[in-house]
């Protein structure tokens, strides 16, 4: 072990081993972005036109005091289509609750496609249009579906960046009520 080249080889070997072990920790973990640091912050305000609402808007401000679930979705995304039944069931359970609101914000779709989808699937909750993507940006969305829970005080208490089940939605609502 007296030759300097041998020491260099050992050094290079150590660096390679370290590098490969770091890589190996990442094998199998999907590199999905987990969204911006929005939880526990004040929910970003939005004020958006309601689908076929004749100029009626839905604003977060006007929902103050309620537990709000915001669902970003559109008609062409497959996980959104898959979660529609869960959202409908969840809505039917809580529709009469005066302290609750569910808003579906359309992300990246055209009005006519959304209208057809809502009609076909008989979506009963509020669907708001976000043609300029302002709300989608404020909530740091990177795709759809994404679901956020907002407490009556207007604080984001939870989020889910994938397809939701009824249980997921109940848990989100629970966090909004508790927060």
């Amino acid at each position: 072990m007296k030759h300097p080249l041998r020491w260099s080889a050992v050094g290079v070997g150590v660096v390679v081993v370290l590098f490969l072990s770091v890589l190996s920790t990442q094998v199998g973990s999907e590199p999905t972005y987990s969204g911006g640091p929005i939880v526990d912050r004040n929910a970003p305000a939005f004020d958006l036109p309601v689908l076929d609402g004749n100029g009626v808007h839905v604003a977060l401000r006007s929902l103050a005091g309620k537990s709000v679930i915001v669902n970003f979705w559109n008609s062409w995304c497959i996980p959104c289509q898959e979660e529609t039944p869960a959202l409908k069931e969840f809505w039917n359970r809580h529709a009469k609750d005066p302290d609750f609101a569910l808003v579906g914000i359309v992300r990246d779709d055209t009005t006519s496609e959304v209208r057809a989808y809502v009609k076909k699937h008989d979506v009963g909750y509020t669907v708001a249009l976000d043609p300029k993507g302002e709300a989608a940006l404020a909530y740091a969305t990177t795709g759809q579906p994404e679901t956020y829970a907002i407490s009556p005080a207007g604080v984001v208490t939870g989020k889910q960046l994938s397809r939701v089940s009824v249980d997921n939605l109940e848990a989100l609502l629970g966090s909004a009520r508790a927060g």
Binding site: L5, V10, V22, L23, D109
Partner: protein
């Protein structure tokens, strides 16, 4: 049935590699030439097995045999024939199959080339190592990347290839070129390892693998440039290089390979840099494996990661074995690897090559670090980060400019040492041409350090290349009284490696000029147009004529017809489009490009499918883009020239020994007056 046949072919390939490795190993241990001669035959069995497996897969693809999972996932009844054939490399399993075929071809070609030296231990060891690499890929296909998996129930129609892969004929050429490049580096790698094992790490293995290295490098170069071209014509974001992880993965072995091609000349000439050259070859091979790992195991997001699977741990283990054995062999041979040698002057060809290697190694390091940094950050403190174009531009531009300068000046430097007088004689006029170009560029309103330096260095380089060729041809004309054309051909033929290299450099200069112009003079605007309305961008007037919708079983395409005019001249009607495919939800935009010698007009349709009265179009004017592809073509021509066998000088006795490395020299000028 095809599945069974395919698996048999792969099993045959696996057994051929195992038997070959064992025969060669025993033959080497016992010094038994008969076994060594027998062992090399397995290479051809391997080639047969790989050809068979690929043929079965193509047969299944062309026959739309959806009982195979791979065919069902990457082919549909409506897929056109071209994209049915290219379905072989539309996803991971087929790519590995193509990769293995390429490797088998390289191994067989090498075995054929060294048929008279089959008992030479260095050749036998290199064959053995090549077979080990092949064994790994065959084992992958028996295990996690089996292309011949069957469907439990046969669907009526398949899913079809990824929409992005059935959009442009370039897809037929880009991946095979890239694989031929990647795989080709197996040959110099196995000879380098063989040299270390046998202890013959002089210049022999370099001469033996020179052609294989240049061939691999040439294919990799073409593959990378075709990838850029495909990206420009298909992805529609207006650029050709996004510093995306997959693109970086192909660039990494190219950078170290290019460094190797240059530093080899120092070892051939001066016997120095043995360890460095061995390390570069081993690193290049490791980087091809690392690139495959990064892009095929799903650890990084990328536009090009069309399929991921669970081969990640396999590739990582293989990489660890390859890197580990390379480092261990170098450490084992440490005391014998040192070569006496010195560099006499910092102003000499060999010193310039050292600078070149430092810069290429630096570039490779930057690209590697930037590519894996998000992974490191996530592993070290769970932070999610991005590294993109602004980082890579900032880090690589200075290195690239320094390389351009070296490339301009270095070919004029003599070996050992340059006198001031010689420098002035060779460099003064090209240097003034370079400086003059900078002044002209500034007078033509070019602003910014980078483009002005790039144009100046590029002119300097072109002038120097022209001078080298002129001086060589003139000397030949004077000596032999030949005409210009004949003397030109003879000059190139007398030293194809030198002149091939200079032609490659010319291609690089063209690309450098194109990159600098693209980054400096481009313009881009998003416009919203009603039917009949026009907008003008950089002198080009775009008028929206109408939309058309084209539905087929394959895809639904909406295109906007746009009339393009410059001044009063109508240049034509262009139709950028958005297509939706049954197997994908998002629309795929296809740009429409008016290609020109000076600049391209690049039109992309943005708005969604349902609107028809109004469209949003991005109009980009991209200067000099055509010259990127022309430069790539020139590089390919130069590579071919460099591969022309050396014409033996008028010698009475023929030389049976392997050809010695050709000195890179302007002989006529080197002789002291």
């Amino acid at each position: 049935m095809k599945a069974a046949l395919g698996v048999i072919a792969i099993a045959l390939g696996t057994s051929a590699s195992v038997l070959g490795v064992m025969t060669l190993a025993v033959g080497l241990a016992r010094h038994d030439p008969k076994l060594l001669l027998a062992g090399r035959k397995y290479v051809f069995a391997l080639l047969g097995a790989a050809v068979l497996a690929v043929a079965i897969m193509e047969w299944a693809l062309i026959g739309h045999d959806f009982s195979l999972k791979y065919v069902a996932e990457n082919n549909a009844r409506g897929t056109p024939l071209l994209f049915t054939i290219t379905g072989l490399w539309a996803a991971l399993e087929g790519s590995i199959l193509l990769w293995t075929l390429a490797l088998a071809v390289y191994l067989a070609a090498t075995a054929h080339r060294f048929r008279h030296r089959a008992t030479d231990p260095i050749v036998a060891w290199a064959t053995l190592i090549g077979l080990l690499v092949a064994l790994f890929f065959f084992a992958l296909m028996l295990g996690p990347a089996n292309p011949f998996r069957v469907m439990s129930s046969i669907p009526f129609d398949g899913r079809g290839p990824n929409p992005l892969l059935q959009n442009h004929p370039l897809m037929a050429f880009h991946p095979p070129m890239l694989y031929l490049g990647y795989v080709g580096f197996t040959i110099p790698f196995s000879f380098a390892m063989a040299a270390l094992i046998t202890g013959r790490f002089g210049e022999g293995w370099l001469a033996d693998t020179r052609r294989a290295t240049i061939i691999a490098w040439g294919f990799l170069t073409i593959g990378i440039i075709l990838g850029g071209w495909w990206s420009y014509e298909v992805l529609g974001w207006g650029g050709f290089w996004a510093w995306d992880p997959v693109e970086n993965a192909s660039l990494l072995p190219w950078l170290t390979g290019t460094a190797f091609i240059h530093s080899v000349m120092v070892q051939e000439r001066r016997g120095m840099l043995r360890v460095w050259n061995l390390s570069l070859v081993i690193a290049t091979f490791c980087l091809t494996i690392l690139g495959t790992f990064l892009t095929r195991s799903g650890v990084l997001n990328s536009v090009h990661s069309f399929s991921t699977s669970d081969i990640g741990p396999w590739l990582l283990t293989f990489l660890a074995v390859v890197a580990g054995s390379g480092i261990a062999l170098i450490a084992w041979r440490a005391d014998k690897l040192h070569a006496p040698g010195r560099i006499d002057s910092p102003v000499s060809r060999e010193a310039a090559f050292l600078g070149n290697n430092l810069l290429f190694a630096g570039l490779a390091f930057v690209v590697l670090l930037g590519t894996v940094y998000p992974l490191l950050a996530e592993a070290l403190n769970g932070q999610q980060l991005s590294v993109g174009e602004p980082y890579f531009d900032a880090m690589t531009t200075p290195l690239g400019l320094a390389l351009l300068f070296l490339m301009a000046a270095a070919p004029a430097l003599p070996w050992r040492a340059a006198s001031g007088d010689l420098l002035r004689r060779r460099l003064a006029i090209p240097a003034w041409i370079g400086a003059g170009s900078m002044v002209i560029a500034v007078m033509l309103d070019t602003r910014g350090l980078v483009p002005v330096l790039a144009f100046g260095f590029a002119a300097f380089a072109l002038a120097n290349i022209a001078r080298s060729i002129y001086v060589g041809v003139r000397a030949r004309r004077r000596a032999n009284g030949e005409g210009w054309l004949r003397a030109g051909g003879r000059t190139v033929g007398s030293n194809p490696r030198l002149y091939g290299g200079l032609i490659v450099h010319t291609g690089v200069v063209l690309i450098a000029i194109a990159l600098a112009s693209f980054g400096t003079f481009g313009s881009r605007r998003e416009v919203r147009l009603e039917r009949g309305q026009s907008a003008t961008v950089s002198g080009y007037t775009v008028t929206f004529l109408g939309t058309s919708l084209d539905r087929s079983a394959q895809k639904t395409t909406k295109s906007a017809r746009l009339r393009l005019a410059q001044g009063g001249d109508v240049l034509g009607v262009y139709a950028p489009s958005i297509s939706t495919f049954p197997n994908s939800t998002q629309g795929i935009g296809t740009p429409s490009v008016r290609t020109g010698i000076r600049e391209d007009v690049y039109l992309t349709l943005v708005s969604s499918l349902s609107e028809s009265k109004q469209v949003t179009v991005v109009v980009a004017v991209n200067p000099m883009v055509l010259w990127l592809w022309i430069g790539g073509g020139v590089m390919a021509i130069g590579t071919v020239v460099a591969l022309i066998p050396v014409r033996r000088r008028d010698r009475a006795t023929s030389d049976p020994a392997p050809a010695p490395a050709q000195p890179i020299e302007l002989a006529s000028e080197e002789v002291p007056a």
